[in-house]
Subunit: 464 residues, 2 copies
């Protein structure tokens, strides 16, 4: 007879860790670095702090295949009452709100800690001090996988005698530095180039130190947390919003719970939809909720989704980054206006670099970012490749004939990037996103064409 | 200040449902069909029952974009005390054991039910009767997303006056039949062709009925549930096994908990590893567990993983299937011996069809299966494509020059197929699996070469 059983979320992701990027020691070492660095950047630039991030990878003295990965940041720190769950409970997070952050699942740090626990048995060590706090806190934690809760092995705190604030996380994992190193160096390089306002220091297992100094002193405005847009709504979301709303009438509920619905718009919408403004939302049947969800999705009169929940690179930063890495003959960058899919605002940015230090290749070299995170794997299954693939995009009409020295950078930023998997390596084919990437690439490619056509004319003239 | 929050597993998969294949109404309708059909096949052929599976998709009278998807099977049924959680609790399953089944996550049916609930508000209806039961049970259920538990809206049962056994599941979802139909027909066709011992009936929203009659009366031996192999072990798995073991000494624990470790092998292993057979496993420190895990992984003297936990198609079924669909000029099939990755047994099967009814194309046409499930999406990011891609596999040396009429079928079956995502569409690059696929393709390609070379010689002779 069948044996029925339930799993905790920790057990599920432990058994299926390849889904989160922990398929083998090479990918696991890379993913561990990523998860910690992305948390450190979220703790700084999302909070208006110029980041200082230090990454150390050192070989463990007990076992040459084990690596101690430590990341230190000068971020907002974590209140001590939340530290055990932040690092010991799968699906626990401060990023479950509508705001552009690198983190979104409440899983990343825990996956790295879990992987360390199952391959080396070593617990995670966390040192943290919130800006407002007068103390520094130390925790040594394990994850109780079956119960999905933290096990505190050690905990202490002491008075802070400096103005230090931030977090240090140290995890020991099985890894393969010889195979992972090219990806980790590439990831750190791409992160630094895209965040010139950050100072990054990286010391690798051979003791080699790489330092990226701050190139600009100005931090982009941090993204704000916002309310959902009505176009993203479904029946269960309505039920959740109703349960947590203060308002009880439909009219007040819509104004309170959504962005893009003001005093004037709400009355127009209710009239168009044929709904009663005074209806008690707590008494709505499933049938009326289904109708409300459908009408909210169809109505075109709401303001478009807000962009202040987003934080793009900017055309200057993209151009500066491409210049620095490639010293190309030509560079262009495009930051599109905000768009939306399923009520989530998003912005597409595209950069093109051509010639100069760019190597010639038989297809475009695609560099991808999502919410400022460099994406290195599964390139060909990403929606951005679907757009710029020479089999789909007519580069010839822009005077680019392969083999050619062409780099295309694509950045997707959103309150929710539709990744294909929790390992965050490639983006799904969302039609609105695909369309915007195509428009941005065309815009940048037109500028490339003007440059190439002018260059060709000058060469003609010189020949005569 | 940051707002910390935890999510239930149901909330997590509700918010990130694109990760499970529910990104839009087209994919959602397709995925709903898949999840129900795969459950029906697991309930039959895994239990020695010749499957009779009926799939109905009908348009809802309330809304032309809503579809009622119903699947009926003659399987083992579900004991009534487990029905609410089987369909109302995410991460609840009877397939969390080491045995080849289509299901593995404890998520599939719940995702379809969740999607129905959020797009149409309609609950799932389940009718079931276990073989041994004298009653038929009916349930109408919702999922309480926040609590991740079932809400029973209605429940009744009545005496069975026939020998019927099995399950009927009916879910109403938002869908897009015009876009989804080609994928659903393809999926049903590929499922039927690979399961000639099954009877499948499909009635689509236009009323069209497609019937696949049983072609063979003999069911392949159902896979057996087995113990883990020592090569898959990690520290946390050891802790779980120790907690549930009856034995207390290391020697007895190893024999009881693992496959491939017998009375003779255990003593040889313990001597080689320098471990004490009488050590009390319940008192082992993390350090000694880490050493035990490492030694178990390194030792090469264990028997290879067992194949009775697997259920491949067989070369006859593959050839018959390819003949039936393509009427090719040439067909070959290879079923490899069992191999293993991370202690999980797996078998690779490859089929080749050439010429005849196979259309000519500029690259090989890849048909993929995993644990008998047809995989239709993300083909180019699958490990099988990585092997047969003409850029990586020298088809010319097998006398195949593109464009050519070549179909390659690849089947990966395992106690755990390493899918890239919970939507089960493509398989990750596990080195052992990639190597076995390559060997199988070469074997089949060699037979193709003999055929093509002979054919070419005959054409030469006829020309003279
Ligand atoms: N360096 C840090 N500084 C401040 N807070 C942190 C830091 N690292 C982790 N946290 C907190 O711990 C929480 C859990 O982190 P974790 O990486 O597991 O999930 P996440 O970042 O929210 O989402 P994701 O799984 O997408 O990474 C974060 O939401 C954040 O509140
Ligand atoms: N038609 C059916 N007949 C018998 N049992 C069923 C049927 N459908 C579902 N079940 C039971 O309900 C459980 C949950 O199904 P569900 O599809 O959610 O998960 P799963 O099949 O175990 O894994 P996966 O998420 O990979 O599909 C199954 O494990 C099985 O025990
Ligand atoms: Mg994180
Ligand atoms: Mg299932």
């Amino acid at each position: 007879p069948e044996t029925f059983k339930s799993l905790s979320a920790a057990e599920f992701f432990y058994r299926n860790r390849e889904i989160a990027g922990f398929a083998n020691p090479t990918r696991a070492l890379y993913q561990t670095v990523r998860e910690l660095v992305e948390n450190a950047l979220d703790a700084t630039d999302t909070h208006g702090i110029l980041p200082i991030i230090k990454l150390y990878i050192e070989r463990s003295r007990d076992n040459p295949n084990h690596y101690i990965v430590t990341v230190e940041d000068n971020g907002v720190g974590i209140p001590p009452q939340y530290v055990p769950r932040a690092f010991g409970q799968v699906l626990f997070s401060s990023k479950y709100v509508l705001r552009q952050t690198r983190g979104m699942y409440g899983l990343g740090a825990k996956m790295a800690i879990l992987y360390g626990q199952i391959t080396t048995g070593k617990p995670v060590e966390v040192i943290t001090s919130p800006i407002v706090s007068g103390r520094i806190y130390y925790f040594k934690l394990n994850i109780d996988i079956k119960q999905n809760k933290p096990l505190i092995l050690e905990q202490k705190s002491w008075r802070k005698n400096s103005r230090w604030h931030g977090t240090i996380v140290s995890i020991t994992v099985e890894g393969d530095w010889s195979r992972a190193r090219q990806y980790i160096y590439d990831y750190i390089e791409k992160t630094a180039v895209a965040a010139p306002y950050a100072e990054l220091v990286f010391r690798d297992p051979d003791g080699k130190v790489t330092r990226y100094l701050r190139a600009i002193e100005k931090l982009p405005p941090p993204p704000k947390s916002v309310k959902p847009h009505p176009h993203g709504v479904d029946i269960e979301m309505l039920k959740f919003l109703i349960a947590s709303a203060k308002s009880t009438t439909l009219r007040e509920f819509l104004i309170e719970s959504f962005q893009g619905i003001g005093e004037v718009t709400v009355d127009r919408f209710l009239e168009w939809a044929g709904l009663d403004p005074k209806a008690d939302v707590r008494k709505m049947t499933v049938r009326s909720l289904e109708k409300l969800a459908r009408k909210l999705k169809e109505y075109t009169g709401f303001k478009p989704p807000r962009a202040d929940s987003l934080s793009p690179f900017s055309e200057d930063i993209i151009k500066a980054g491409l210049e620095r890495v490639f010293r190309p003959e030509f560079v262009a960058a495009v930051t599109r206006r905000p768009s939306a899919y399923s009520g989530h605002p998003f912005i597409i940015e595209v950069g093109i670099a051509y010639g100069g230090g760019v190597k010639s290749d038989r297809e475009p070299q695609l560099i991808r970012y999502a919410n400022k995170i460099p994406l290195l794997f599964d390139t060909k299954s990403d929606v951005a490749w679907k757009v710029i693939d020479p089999e789909k995009f007519d580069w010839k009409q822009y005077l680019v004939n392969f083999p050619a020295p062409l780099v295309v950078l694509v950045h997707v930023c959103s309150t929710k990037v539709p990744f294909k998997g929790v390992g965050k390596e490639s983006i799904a084919d969302v039609p609105e996103i695909e369309k915007e990437i195509r428009n941005a690439v065309r815009e940048a490619a037109r500028r490339l064409r003007r440059f190439l056509s002018k260059k060709r004319q000058e060469e003609e003239m010189r020949r005569r």
